[in-house]
């Protein structure tokens, strides 16, 4: 499915991403799903990646949401921890939509909340596999596949810059990837591809709600100048901006999107 009319669709103020192709990993739900929908609203054709069969229905729903409003999307299964699967994901993206302009590395998690002393080797390896090693491979493939003038965005977490007891392995992995992105930005600058990190604070997703207590959320709300927790669209709107031409001067940056909490 290679719609050539899409490539020549005029970019307008409301569809600044017309003619662009985006890939969002971990896009079956939460922030990733909202990023996919927002980039599609901006005019991009979007590959909605999901990790395993259990997420297939959710991914199909995101695709359906996008197509229902006139956009183009395709769901592709790939586990970001598997280098071969990631390679196939990028190949499938090119085969489906003819190329790639915007790579959003949103897939992450598998956080193990344990003290440094109590973290097992298996815990450490699991957290690193998804949040550092897998992201490194994905960044390599993104750098090789994204067209000149394109965008690479890594979705990190405010935990990475304000780690608290129990978060060493997760924060360390996220921070490692933030450094990969900052270096990559300088390595590919000549191709006018920007590489940035968007680091959200606490955001109202199913995952977040199931992993936090009411008390913790209340503490965060009280400390947030804006007095609420982010909705996924608050994060997605920033990722959309980074994908547009207006953000061409921003690269190698960590954009903290947390309503003033940090």
């Amino acid at each position: 499915m290679n719609d050539s009319s899409r490539a020549t669709a005029p970019r307008t103020p409301t569809t600044p991403l017309s003619g662009k192709v985006a890939l969002v990993t971990g896009a079956s739900r939460g922030i990733g799903a909202e990023i996919a929908r927002t980039l599609a609203r901006g005019g991009a054709a979007v590959v909605v990646n999901y990790r395993d069969d259990a997420d297939q229905e959710d991914a199909a729903t995101v695709v359906h949401d996008i197509e229902r409003t006139g956009g183009m999307a395709s769901a592709v299964l790939a586990d970001v921890r598997d280098p071969e699967a990631i390679a196939q994901l990028f190949d499938r993206t090119a085969a489906t939509f003819g190329g790639l302009d915007i790579a959003v590395l949103n897939a992450g998690g598998d956080a193990v909340v344990k003290s440094v002393i109590d973290t097992s080797e298996a815990d450490f390896d699991r957290v690193m596999a998804l949040n550092a090693r897998g992201q490194f491979v994905a960044l390599q493939l993104a750098a090789r596949n994204v067209r000149d003038g394109g965008r690479i965005v890594f979705i990190s977490s405010s935990t990475a810059c304000q780690p608290y007891p129990g978060t060493a392995s997760y924060s360390g992995a996220k921070t490692a990837t933030e450094v990969y992105v900052r270096v990559l930005a300088r390595e590919i600058a000549a191709r006018r591809i920007t590489a940035n990190v968007v680091s959200p604070g606490m955001t109202a997703t199913q995952t977040m709600m199931s992993q936090t207590t009411e008390a913790r959320r209340a503490t965060v709300i009280a400390a947030t100048p804006k007095g609420r927790i982010a909705m996924p669209v608050d994060i997605a709107d920033v990722v959309h901006f980074v994908a547009t031409d207006a953000a061409r001067g921003v690269t190698g940056q960590i954009l903290h999107v947390n309503g003033g909490l940090l």
């Binding site: 103020p13 409301t14 900052r182 930005a185 300088r186 600058a189 947030t224 100048p225 804006k226 007095g227 982010a230 608050d234 994060i235 709107d237 920033v238 959309h240 901006f241 031409d245 207006a246 953000a247 061409r248 001067g249 921003v250 690269t251 190698g252 940056q253 954009l255 903290h256 999107v257 947390n258 309503g259 003033g260 940090l262």
Partner: protein
């Protein structure tokens, strides 16, 4: 590209003819904002009026004001006048644009008079512009401080200027926490020209315009660096 994203909004830009000021004014006006452009000193008045004419020529709305930023009372008067210019609906966006820098001088050799002059413009004036902006910017508005990259570039001869810029960045981070409940965002945008003429840095202006838009509502207390990918 006219998007109308800032239609109905008013913006005050201080030291509007310095550095990226003209690009910022043009970018905000292009998105529909009514821009009030401040001239730092008598010698900039003509340049500001020329900028107003350029913006009006492109169907934008612009007016000019002049005022001394080294006197907190004069800053208050400037804001009074700006509010009058926009006919009492209030100011939505305040851009504290960087005033001029000092020629490079090693810390050991800095003359006290030069220290006072540069600090008065780059730290004290910024502080009191932020104070007025913090009091008066409308709910859900936006405050942006712009400057060069001196607080991160840290070059020999740049101590006073870098220190003043760094101070301004901290004022913004604290102010962001103090007025966030009103929905007002406060951020810093710096431009690292990497050898290009600063006037060509439309990309920094585009970031300022984004921060003024609803899509940037969740970014506050931050420092966004534009231009050449930073080494650190």
């Amino acid at each position: 590209m006219q998007t109308g994203a800032l239609s109905g909004k008013s913006a005050l830009i201080t030291a509007a003819c310095q550095g990226i000021g003209p690009s910022v004014a043009a970018a905000l006006a292009a998105q529909g904002a009514r821009v009030v452009l401040h001239a730092l000193r008598e010698s900039s008045v003509e340049a500001v009026h020329a900028l107003v004419a350029t913006i009006r020529g492109a169907s934008g709305q612009a007016s000019a004001l002049c005022g001394d930023l080294t006197d907190p009372a004069a800053i208050a008067t400037l804001f009074d006048e700006a509010e009058r210019v926009v006919e009492g609906v209030g100011i939505d966006i305040v851009v504290s644009n960087a005033p001029d820098a000092l020629a490079s001088c090693p810390l050991a050799d800095v003359d006290l008079a030069d220290y006072d002059r540069l600090t008065a413009l780059n730290a004290k004036a910024r502080f009191f512009v932020l104070q007025q902006a913090g009091r008066r910017v409308r709910d859900n508005g936006c405050i942006v401080v712009t400057s060069g990259d001196e607080s991160h570039a840290l070059e020999i001869g740049n101590a006073v200027h870098a220190g003043a810029s760094a101070a301004s960045e901290l004022y913004c981070r604290v102010l962001a926490k103090e007025i966030g409940a009103r929905g007002v965002t406060v951020n810093v945008v710096t431009a690292n020209p990497g050898g290009k003429p600063v006037a060509d840095l439309t990309e920094a202006a585009d970031v300022v315009a984004f921060l003024a838009s609803p899509e940037a509502r969740w970014i506050t207390g931050q420092h966004i660096r534009t231009g050449v990918a930073p080494a650190a």
